[in-house]
Each structure stands twice: as C-alpha cells, then as structure tokens.
C-alpha cells in the first residue's frame, strides 16, 4: 500500500478515528495499531507477515534472555548478544544478499580457475526488511547494553510493525518509540498542523518533483547514457540528486506526519542535505536516523576514533562500505559507500585546509553527486558509461529541457531557505478553523494531483 494512493486514502481515516477512540484503553489501542499495521504490510504480500511476526518473536526471546543475563551479570551475555545480531543478519542475508553472495563467490572462484555452478534461486525481497531488521537490532542491543528493559511482546510487535515507518523508515529506535507506547498519546494535544504540513510537503516532493524528474530525464539518462549528450547527462545526475532527496525525504515527511496524527513522534530524518559544506555535515543532514544507527551500533563498537588515526580511517571505511551494502546487494552500492568513506577520511586528514564556504558546499555536492552515479546505475558498466558520456559527449544535441533545469535549480535553491521561513505560515495555519484547514488541505491535494504525472512509481527506498 503506497501512501500517495486512493487505497491508502481509504485506509487511513478509519484507522485514525479508531486509534483515537481506542486510545484510552491501552490494550485495545495497541492491538488495533498492530492489526492495522499488519493489514498495511499484507497489502504487498501477506506471506511476509509471518516473517515480520517471526522476527518480532525471535527478537523478544533474545531481549528477555539478554535481560536475564544482564541482571545476573552473567558473562555469557556476549554470546547471546552475538547470537541475536547473527540471527537478524542471517535473516536479512538470506532474503537480501543470497543471490549476490553466491554469484560473487562463483565469479571469484571462476576467475581463480575453479569452475562452480551453484544452484541459484531468486529470493523475493520482503519490502522494508532492512528497516525493521535494523530497528529490531537496536532493540536487542539496547537491552543488552542496559539502555532498555525488555518491553511486553505486544509493544515490541507494535514497534516493529507500526505502519508509518514499517517499509522505509525513518529508523526509529526502540528507546524513542516504546516509551511513547507506554505513555499513550494525549488526545487533547495533537500536533496536527505540523502533520498536515509534512504530509502535503512530502506528497509534493514525491508526486510532483521526484516523479517528474524521474520520467522527464533521469531514468532515460541512466538507462541509455550513450544516447544522451554531456549536458543532458549532467542534468540527469543533478536531477537524480534531487529526485532521490525528494523521493526519500518526501516519504519520511509523510511517515512523520501520519505518526504525528496518531500521536507518535518520530525523529527527524533530513535537514536540507545539499547545503552541507562537508561530507561529515552531509551525513548529519541526510538519512539522519541511519547515520546515527551506523554510528552507535557499528562505528563506535568498532572502536570509533579511540584507537588511533589509522584505525579511525579503517572504521570509517568499514562503516560506510557496510552502509552502502545495506542499501542494496550490488557492488555499485559498495562503491557508493566507499566514495563517502574515502571522502570522510580525507576530510578528517585535511580538515584544517580552509576554503570559502560556498567552495566547500560546491565540492561536497559534487562528491555526493559522483557517488550518486554509482548508487543509481544498475551496473559498473552503466556508471562508467554515464561518466564517460559526461566527459566526452559535448557534441550533437546539447539541449536540456528547460522545465527540468528549472526544477533542479528551484529544488536546490529551496535547500538554502532557512528552516524558520515556513514557521510563520504554519503558525497561521494552526490557528485556522478546522473547516478552513480542511479546505486548504483539499486544495493542496488536488494541486499536487494535477501537477504530478500519471501514475506514481514506488518509493526508491522500498527496495532497500
């Protein structure tokens, strides 16, 4: 079930109404949220509901086992913690990396002169598995670290399956979500104005900006780079930078807005990433919940920057390479992570070199765009073709669609608008009468529908 569809528009209002009616009764409220979330998930493929339920039960068993050992100061706790991590990664590995792993090993062996013909099956990727697995890991690891106590199974089930963040984040940690379930939302104080603003903004980003750029240029450039001139390829790369931002941050905006309407607050996930003057700053602004997850559950456990300069670089590279692989089972994602890892290491080494801020922003943006080429291309050959065409395709038809250029420029310019700029309008909106708010919201929905192309492609991050 995609957010910007009629199906979801029919699904959400009764869920919202029932959730608030049941809110005074915690058990029924949680059971209802759980049921609604499983219906939402089953809309894609009901079979994967069993996977989600299995993951929930498995992680709850690990969490209870960890808590028991933690309380007894049992030294075997580390084995349980490793078993929990290994079990979660095994599930993720089977569904997401099986084919990639087997073909990579077979190719390597063939290159070494060992001919193997492994039995290959195409494993269907459950939507959202990367997100709910990382959230489950945050739960069991935090219980093992004594940050959290095990929550009741029902709470854990609602946490992992809660439909606004289930399939594409943001990656909400157990420590951020579970206390909200215990407190229950306050029905007299719903931040609905912010929620409506986020939902409308998210729909506009996804339906209008991302869909338009994808259909007007980006898909074509990355699929057939040799048929495009260098300016078109350049616009395609910039366009993808905007498309993926609009697509993913748009989804996140909608998710945060829907959760807010249900009385649950999610952490922020994006903060105008293309104004970043360094890659370090970029990662504080882009997919912030993943950055924090990787920092707290991978980079710091690896030693972070506490074990010397060389080890810091190694830890940075490992974190970014694995972060790349988290996005998809392909070497192109590893290269994407590698470019960011090298960039972060270079910044750490030469961070004292100063340049005007706009130069730093320009350089950072273009390093990010270079990395996006590998992220978007289906193969290394595809990425090579895009970059080769960018370098050599300065003849023939150099024209780029004006609307595409205008969209890219406008979308980039908006990144530089201070966050507080829209605050006043939001405050004014929040003081409008409910009927006026509904009329404004309805008009916004219709305008978005008119401006968007026919049909909406699934969100890019669904495949991760």
């Amino acid at each position: 079930m995609l957010f910007p569809t009629v199906t979801f528009a029919l699904f959400f209002p009764p869920v919202l109404l029932a959730a608030w009616l049941l809110a005074p009764r915690p058990l029924r409220w949680k059971l209802f949220l759980l049921a609604a979330s499983y219906v939402f998930y089953a809309w894609w493929n009901w079979r994967f509901c069993f996977l989600l339920a299995g993951s929930t039960v498995m992680n709850q068993v690990f969490a209870v086992a960890l808590a028991l050992r933690r309380d007894r100061a049992d030294p075997t706790i580390r084995y349980v913690r490793w078993a929990a991590v290994a079990a979660n990664l095994a599930v993720l590995g089977w569904f997401k990396y099986y084919g990639f792993f087997v073909t990579s090993v077979a190719t390597t062996l063939r290159d070494l002169g060992v001919d193997v013909s492994p039995q290959l099956v195409q494993v269907a990727l459950p939507v959202g598995i990367s997100f709910f697995t990382f959230q489950a890991l945050s739960y069991v690891i935090d219980v093992g670290r004594d940050v959290l106590d095990p929550a009741p199974l029902l709470d854990v089930a609602v946490y992992l399956s809660f439909f606004p963040h289930l399939v594409a984040g943001p990656i909400v940690r157990a420590a951020e979500f579970l206390p909200q379930l215990r407190r229950r939302p306050d029905p007299t104080r719903v931040d609905s104005s912010t929620a409506f603003w986020l939902i409308t903004k998210g729909l506009f980003k996804k339906v209008v900006i991302a869909s338009y750029l994808s259909t007007a240029l980006v898909d074509s450039v990355f699929a057939t780079p040799r048929a495009h001139s260098a300016p078109q390829v350049l616009a395609g790369i910039y366009g993808y930078a905007i498309q993926i931002y609009a697509d993913f941050s748009g989804y996140t905006d909608i998710a945060i807005g829907l959760a807010l309407l249900l009385g649950i607050r999610f952490p922020e996930n994006f903060d105008r990433p293309y104004v970043a003057a360094s890659l370090q700053e970029f990662w504080r602004r882009w997919h912030m919940t993943l950055s924090r997850w990787l920092r707290d559950y991978l980079y710091i456990p690896l030693g972070g920057n506490r074990r010397g300069t060389r080890r810091t670089y190694v830890n940075l590279m490992l974190t970014m390479l694995l972060g790349g692989l988290w996005h998809g089972a392909a070497w192109t994602f590893v290269v994407w992570g590698g470019i960011h890892g090298i960039g972060l290491a270079v910044e750490r080494r030469y961070g004292h070199v100063r340049a005007p801020k706009w130069v730093q922003q320009l350089v950072t943006f273009h390093i990010v765009c270079l990395a996006w080429v590998f992220f978007r291309a289906e193969t290394f050959t595809g990425a090579r073709d895009v970059l080769w065409r960018l370098a050599t395709g300065w003849t023939g038809d150099l024209r780029v669609d004006r609307v595409v250029v205008l969209t890219i420029v406008a979308a980039l310019a908006v990144q530089f608008v201070p966050r507080e700029a829209g605050r006043r309008a939001l405050v004014v909106f929040s003081h409008l009468a409910p009927a006026a708010q509904a009329a404004a919201l309805a008009s916004g929905l219709v305008v978005i529908d008119v401006l968007g192309p026919a049909g909406v492609a699934p969100f890019i991050y669904f495949r991760f």
Binding site: P13, T103, A124, R189, T224, A227, A442, V450
Partner: protein, 348 residues
C-alpha cells in the same frame, strides 16, 4: 511562536473533510481511475462509488477548478480524456482491405552513420528495460537511431486507459520509422470492453476481438511494407501467468504469420531455460547472470541486453544479405534519415 496543538477530534475532522472535498474536486479523475481498473468486483464497486460523486461534483461545478488547472497546464482534463478514448471502435482498421491483402515487406535501405536507420520501439513495461537495451545496442551499432516509447500498465485490451492505436496514428507520421519493434501483452490478460459490454478474458469472443486488435495494430504499423518485429512475452515465474502469456503469443504468432511484413520474434529461447520454461538466471561467459527482476515478470538489465542483441541481429538481417532476410529483394539506399544522435522517448 509554536503551531497550536489541537484535539484529536479536530485532526480526524480535518482529514475526513479534506479527503471528501478533494474527492469532490477531483471526482472526474477518480471516476476515470475506477473505470480503468480490470473488470471485476473492485471496478464495479469503484465505479458505483465514484459515479454519484462525479455527478454531484459536476452538478455543483466543483470539477471546474481542476479542469481549469489542467487546461492551464496543457493537460487533458480527466473527463475530456475519457470522452476521447471511451467510445467508438478502439482499434479501427487502417483500411478495409488491410487484413485481407497485407502489404509486401519492403526491406529497409542499408543505413549509414550519416543516415541511420530510424527504429521505433513501442510497448508496455516489458518494453522498458528491453527497449533501453535496444537503444544502447543501436547507439553501439552506429547505424541505427532508436526512439523508445513505453507506457507502463498499458496494452491492447484497455484503450480507455491508454489508446495505443491512437498513439501510433499520432506519432507514426512524425517519426516515420523504417522499422518498428513492438512488445505487448503483459497487461493484456484481462477482460476487454466491446460494444459497451465487458468480455471476460480467455473466452472465444475475447480471443477473436484481441486478435482483431493485434492484427489492426500490425496493419497500421506495416503500412507501405514497413517491417515490424513483434517480440513475444518470455516465460514468467507464475505458472498461470506464463500460461496466459503463451496464449497471447499464439495470437501474436498467428497474426504475424498472416502479414509478411511482420516478423514474430520468440523471446522464449533467449530468456527461458533449456525446456522453454521460467528461469531467473541465464548462463553466460561471465557466469550465471540474473536476467529477471524480483517480480518474476520484468527483465533485468542483463536480460534486456540479451534480448536486445537478438532483436538487433534480426533487424540487421533485414538489410544484410543472409538467410533470415524477408522478401529476398535487394536492400535499397533510402532517402530518409535525419542523422545525428539516436533519440530516446520519454515515458508519459
């Protein structure tokens, strides 16, 4: 100053009223969306709900703002698009005698880098990856300029959703392709509308009408003896869906056989296993490669590349001497051709 928080009832009220108002403002679009669903109970319910909504919207003139916005942006308002495609014969024959006396194929001229062969690739989402691969292969050939037009979720059963014959009639004179590659069928295993009545998929009436539409499109494309390569659907992961595609391939093959200018290209030997069945992985020089996407239907880039290589070889055979060349007539040096960069059409 912070935004004012509201009671939950206020939030629910705004959501419900906003959606009701938005559905009234966009009632024509909703009705059209409902009408375009595959025939069945979902469509019946959708139409039953949206029809009165559209009537109220029209009566109260609530659909005007949306119409004006569409016009201002140069788009067809939903109602107008419905009127244009909803009635009449969706696939009228090009000429009364087209099906009975198909044109003799005219092999294309020998293309050059300066005057490349104009190739037009059309189809549904199955033509997306394959078509892109064919565009790339055309660029690499140096003598073929390809234009790709694929439309996701389209086909020949539901011209009320997207009218391919009308699209072909619109674009053919402008593009003036020398060769056309077509790949349809993935969305066509559903009921169709004939004389205002729904005809269930797979019935004799359905087969007759679908074959007529396929033949009529072939006739339209082959006017003047233009060669057309009609690419079949490959095996699918779902056995029942694969069976439906086999049924459609029988129709394509039969209609192609009736028209000398149409070459039926069977994709099963290219993308199927040794027995012609489904396989996601195909052997190759670099090991086994994933040829299909995770949905068990669409092609991966590697699969698209492999099918494109085969189809381009068949296109080359049209002008190069060899046993596959149709008609046996000598290739001619053509007068057309704009040269320059191959073009890639955009999805709309």
């Amino acid at each position: 100053m912070e935004p004012r928080h509201s009671p939950a009832g206020h939030a629910v009220f705004v959501v419900v009223v906003a959606l009701v108002v938005a559905s009234l403002l966009d009632a024509q679009g909703l009705r059209r969306t409902a009408e375009q669903q595959p025939f069945g109970w979902k469509r019946t319910v959708g139409v039953a709900v949206t029809a009165p909504l559209a009537w109220v919207s029209e009566s109260l003139r609530l659909d005007r703002p949306r119409e004006r916005l569409d016009v201002a942006l140069g788009k067809d308002p939903p109602g107008a698009a419905r009127d244009r495609t909803g009635g009449g014969d969706p696939v009228a024959p090009v000429a009364a005698s087209a099906a009975t006396s198909p044109p003799t194929p005219v092999p294309p001229r020998v293309p050059t880098a300066a005057l490349p062969l104009r190739l037009w690739i059309i189809g549904d989402s199955m033509a997306q990856v394959f078509g892109q691969s064919l565009v790339n292969a055309s660029v690499d050939s140096g003598v073929v300029a390809a234009t790709l037009d694929y439309r996701i979720s389209t086909g020949l059963t539901r011209p009320d959703y997207f009218d391919w014959p009308a699209e072909v009639a619109d674009r053919l004179p402008t593009l003036d392709p020398e060769v056309v590659v077509a790949m349809f069928g993935a969305n066509d295993a559903q009921g169709l509308l004939l004389d205002g009545s729904a005809v269930p998929y797979g019935t004799p009436a359905w087969r007759t009408e679908y074959a007529r539409r396929v033949g009529a499109l072939m006739d339209r494309l082959t006017v003047g003896g233009r060669p057309v390569l009609w690419v079949s659907q490959p095996p699918m992961r779902s056995g029942s869906f694969s069976e439906k595609m086999r049924d459609l391939d029988v129709i394509y093959r039969r209609e192609a056989a009736r028209r000398p200018a149409v070459t039926f290209v069977d994709s099963t030997p290219v993308l199927g296993d040794d027995d012609g069945g489904w396989t996601p992985y195909l052997p190759g020089s670099g090991g086994r490669t994933l040829a299909r996407q995770a949905d068990g239907i669409h092609l991966s880039r590697a699969g698209g590349d492999r099918l494109a290589d085969v189809v381009l070889a068949r296109i080359r055979a049209l002008w190069e001497p060899g046993p596959e060349r149709p008609g046996g007539t000598a290739a001619r040096s053509g007068q057309h051709g704009s040269g320059g960069e191959p073009r890639v059409g955009t999805r709309r």
